[in-house]
Symmetry: C2
Subunit: 361 residues, 2 copies
């Protein structure tokens, strides 16, 4: 008989999904053109608008994981030669550069040290007239929150493109309020749903600059909108990932029943408790308090401690997953996620106790 483990997922994602999201995965399959499924899809898009805080009609779950959302965001607006300013202070900013370059963009990087926030003025003044200005709201690789509102206020003629993979449903995201033109997320972080879908939203400004025939057929938003949009007749594009959409529909339902602000506060309370507890264990946090995410915390691995051994013992002895560092932070930090259904005080208390035992503190 195969082993089936039941982890407490406190790494950089996936998080533990909401029970409602898990139960919905087994809802009986429907065809992707079944009126009952299309109702579920429409409600799912409405719920995504609620969590993105947007009125954008083009708000859909892309049929891939968060990185497919990133690619869809770029490939639909960036053509060869376009100038794209990218704020880079972590792995996902780096990934944005790679994706934009593959679209043929002239990428203008604005770097900040991993663990430090971006300087919005540096992003705004990096180029006189970029087509796109792109930043990661919550850097999963570092635990840093980058300020988005100043970029929306100063973006001028550029499109503001924001990665909300680790922020959506965990901390305030205000797509319309901040002047964000394009945003995407993933389901497996603070939304508390399995990985596999990428919520994406494009405002009217972004739609007006959409490329008519992007390199990607699969991520062609014009065609996706023709299927997912409720306005006009549905036109088949690709078969929707029906079970995952059932799950997102129900996970978002649970989240909105609790209340978006209440969910933000729950993530915030878990983060505060976690940060206090880690300091009591004499552990240093990489990111300064004012830029620190509640849902993803980077802890400096003490000099005399074996990074991987601690993670291994947490997994083997307590069934708790935490993440290691990546890039320049590999071996230097642990990444502790507290997102979605994982964001419960009981999980924080357990992790702190387990960590104290493993570290002998």
């Amino acid at each position: 008989m195969e082993t089936i483990s039941d982890r407490i997922l406190m790494g950089p994602g996936p998080s533990n999904p909401y029970p409602e999201a898990v139960a919905a995965l087994t809802r009986p399959m429907l065809g992707h053109l079944d009126p009952e499924f299309l109702d579920v899809l429409d409600v799912t898009c409405d719920r995504l608008r609620a969590v993105f805080r947007t009125e954008n009609p083009l708000t859909v779950p892309i049929s891939g994981t968060g990185s497919a959302g990133m690619e869809a965001a770029f490939v639909n607006v960036v053509q060869p030669g376009d100038v794209v300013v990218v704020g880079v202070n972590g792995l996902f900013g780096e990934r944005m550069c790679d994706v934009a370059e593959r679209c043929g963009a002239e990428v203008v990087r604005v770097d900040a040290e991993w663990g430090q926030p971006l300087d919005p003025d540096a992003v705004l003044s990096a180029h006189p007239s970029p087509k796109v200005m792109a930043v990661v709201h919550a850097e999963t690789s570092t635990g840093v929150r980058n300020d988005v509102a100043p970029l929306g206020a100063g973006k001028g003629d550029a499109l503001l493109l924001v990665d909300c993979v680790t922020s959506l449903g965990g901390i305030p995201v205000e797509v319309d309020g901040w002047g964000v033109d394009i945003a995407y997320a993933g389901t497996q972080k603070c939304l508390g749903v399995a990985p596999g879908l990428a919520p994406l939203t494009f405002n009217q400004r972004a739609r007006e600059r959409q490329i008519e025939r992007p390199h990607s057929w699969y991520l062609d938003l014009g065609m996706i909108a023709g299927y997912a949009s409720t306005a006009g007749a549905r036109k088949y594009h690709h078969t929707a990932p029906v079970s995952m959409i059932f799950s997102l529909h129900s996970g978002l339902g649970a989240l909105l029943d609790e209340g978006l602000e209440a969910v933000w506060e729950r993530h915030s309370a878990c983060g505060r408790r976690l940060h206090e507890g880690l300091r009591k264990l004499d552990l240093d946090l990489l990111v300064e308090e004012q830029h620190r995410l509640p849902e993803l915390t980077t802890v400096v691995v003490p000099d005399d401690v074996d990074d991987a051994a601690v993670r291994g013992r947490l997994l083997a002895e307590y069934g708790i997953e935490i993440g290691g560092g990546v890039g320049p932070l590999a071996g230097r930090v642990w990444r502790i996620g507290c997102m979605g259904h994982t964001a419960r005080i009981r999980n924080v208390v357990l992790l702190l106790s387990a960590l104290a035992e493993v570290l002998g503190r």
Copy 2:
């Protein structure tokens, strides 16, 4: 309380998933780097090799639906100016042209009428030295099976790229035996798993001609292989759709426990029974017997019958979904699928009875 319907899915897909595949969707979430998940992924890839009948080390589930598999197949080998011969006798051959053109290919079309098979000699002689020769094995839009083996035998220096979305797990597919270099499928047809993943296999010949940095970051097979391949250290690319992979793992397990040949025979028996029953109802089948798929049958809508009304009554009164025609066949045919867990004689018997009642025959 929301309505939750339980359909018998006899359209062009999705089919009803195997109970084992459904149950596995709720297996407790694991991280995408958890050793227990990586074991499941490795076994899933082994099982895919078994159903593809290949030894190709690079055999993976792509994190998107079947069309993402198509895009991954083209985007990793086709560069601007490359000649790609595409056999077109249905919607998915058309889609291949679109995808190849977006890669910058010079597409050489070889057309056959919708409902007729491709002429292998015409495909082989369409261009003296194409880089890629691409065909759809089982055309979901028409119910036609195109012969693949003669193309493998005569392909010369070209890469043979085959769409197995509606054939894999339903009728014989012999990737290695037929000399197929690149093949992809979808989970939601004869594999009897929810839509959301695209099994893909590349042989050594195809890997040697892989583009180093394709337009798509998300579908970059070099990077995907670095994560999914068991050879060497795993390198994070994107977060795997964990629950869907659990489901594919279990669905393939059920299929292989039954036995691949037994599953082919079950699909074949359902097809024979369906075709006989339809003829007894005095209905004409679009495709000649020797090219007709057992798993996807196109039925000519009689002149005096309202296409959509019949489909609507089957859905509303019997909970059975069948599909309408697309493209030049819109309004002219019904598409009846009998794939995966749907491929049971009891479903065929029920459909035939329901159709007889609705048609008053």
